[in-house]
Amino acid sequence: MSISIPCFPDGLFHAVAEQESASPWRGRGRMTPPASTGSPPPDNRQHIDARLMQRVAQGDRQAYGDLYDRFSGPLLGAAQLILRDSAEAQDVMHDAFVTIWEKATTFEVGRGSAFSWAVTLVRNRAIDRVRMRRRRAELLADSVLSDLGYAEVATESTGSESAALGDDARAVRAAVATLPAEQKRALELAFFGGLTQEEIARKLSEPLGTVKARIRRGLLKLRESLALRP
């Protein structure tokens, strides 16, 4: 499976600070116990991640190193796919992990997985950089929108993935592969392309309502598929 990821049009993203202020982990103090949300208990991997995050919040550098080893591969891959620049992707990774160290105390287990939080931090920074890059490119190119290139989305696990995350990656890719092509395309554009709803609709030449419905159905089906995995 492969998709093409467009560049990020102008004015797409909220500021990083705005994104983070909207995150469910803001302003919770250090290590509040998990809130009851009615959702199923996290699996072993999420539990291990949560425990590591708790230890990081207590200043445990060993746990921090472990968390880095677990997350850095997929996070750097996602950052690189969004930015298409390895050096910038590493800068984003650096900033995100420093933020994890600083803000670990605000993480709440019941407000989502540690991996999800880390993904949000990396993605927001990557998209923000793309936006700033596009600002410069637009100025130079006389505000002509142009694609900066395309990247391939992986369908198979790579040898560089850790064994544990490799299982997750395989499960996610298998679940995404079961989605209808139009739902998959909309989700990929929304996640990696960082486009607005209207821009996704224009990119796909579909009505806005259709794109919204595809994102909703795709995400719900993906959640259902991932919940059913062994």
């Binding site: 750097l76 796919l81 992990f97």
Partner: protein, 365 residues
């Protein structure tokens, strides 16, 4: 129960796709609805899993060192958050702690003063950094505003140019439309004229067809009449020929001179002859019966009496059958005969004579 609309908004929110008023309204609803909050959280986890679609990239070893060095630097500036739970110090007996307590108090005071000094220095350092950050942010904002101003100006210039181009194109288009309208009107006029001519031609054609039909009928009638006339003419010609023939025949017969010659012989009173003369042909036919047989040196000779001559005209000699005394012969006059008064037969020497010398045998008028 979350309706489809809020479920859709939750999915969009999980992917950070909500903006403006839509986002504000949804976040207000989200704050009131724990079930919606749970849905958003689960969908955020799900959307975060999409990161696994990217091929994992092994980070370079230097990156981890760089991250750890950065948090080391942070730790030096902010060694321990106030609310971090640290291991509790060991408890000693008070009596043994008094001298140490004094020393410790001194150390604590020194440490406190030192830490305050460091804290003030760190705060000043942080303030300088914040000031620098603010300046950078301001500079970035100014650059961004300048960039947006330049972009907006260029867009406006492009828009004006496009409007001018569109105006020119509009004028050209209007002229073309007017020219086409004129051509269309001309074409319509020509079409109407042609329609009128076609209608006239059709009318004439209809009239001609009707006239041709009438003429055809007349031709048929005339043809029949001509055939009848021809037939009647043929019949009339046949009748004329027949009548002509009849008239001619009647004329010929009328002109013929038919004379019966009686015997002048005492020894052959039964002798008889009939002479028929055709004045047109200047010839005739003689038939005799019961004439006496001739001697070898004798011939009967026919004479034609025409008043225009002093002597009878020689009609030639003939003989008869010695047994029956009959003869039939055609004869011609030696001279042209105008009118026939009588025929006569004489007995003459063999071969005949120019002027009658012998006795008359037969005579008729």
């Amino acid at each position: 129960m979350i309706d489809d609309h809020h479920e859709e908004l939750a999915a969009l929110h999980a992917l950070d796709l909500l903006e403006g008023a839509e986002r504000t309204q949804f976040e207000q609803a989200l704050a009131r609805d724990p079930a919606l909050q749970a849905l958003v959280l689960s969908l955020r986890d799900t959307s975060a899993a999409l990161a696994h679609l990217a091929p994992a990239v092994p980070p370079p070893p230097g990156l981890k060192h760089r991250v750890l060095a950065s948090i080391d630097a942070l730790e030096k500036n902010d060694p321990a958050p106030d609310n971090v739970i640290r291991p509790a110090p060991a408890v000693f007996r008070l009596s043994r702690m008094i001298p140490w307590a004094a020393a410790a108090a001194l150390v604590v005071c020194s440490a406190w003063l030192g830490s305050r000094y460091l804290a003030v220095r760190v705060e000043a350092d942080l303030a300088r950094k914040e000031q620098k950050l603010t300046e950078l942010t301001l500079q970035s904002s100014q650059q961004q505003l300048e960039a947006e101003r330049i972009i907006a100006r260029r867009r406006a210039e492009n828009a004006q140019q496009q409007i001018a181009t569109a105006g020119t194109q509009l004028e050209t288009t209007r002229a073309l439309v007017a020219e086409r309208d004129r051509l269309l009107a001309e074409a319509r006029t020509q079409t109407a004229e042609r329609d009128r001519l076609i209608a006239e031609a059709r009318t004439q054609l209809t009239t001609r067809e009707r006239e041709i039909a009438i003429l055809t009928q007349r031709i048929d009638i005339f043809t029949g009449a001509a055939e009848e006339i021809g037939r009647k003419l043929g019949e009339a010609q046949q009748q004329v020929a027949r009548l002509t023939f009849e008239l001619k025949s009647q004329g010929d017969l009328a002109d013929f001179k038919i004379t019966t010659l009686a015997s002048l012989l005492k020894n052959s009173p039964q002798a008889l002859a009939v002479a028929v003369w055709d004045p047109g042909k200047q010839e005739g036919v003689l038939k005799v019966e019961k004439l006496p047989a001739l001697l070898a040196n004798q011939d009967y000779q026919l004479w034609i009496v025409d008043p225009q001559y002093p002597n009878p005209v020689d009609g030639g000699v003939f003989t008869v059958d010695p047994k029956t005394g009959e003869a039939r012969r055609k004869f011609k006059a030696k001279q042209p005969v105008g009118a026939v008064n009588a025929f006569a037969v004489t007995l003459e020497q063999k071969g005949g004579v120019p002027v009658a010398k012998g006795p008359f045998v037969l005579l008729g008028k």
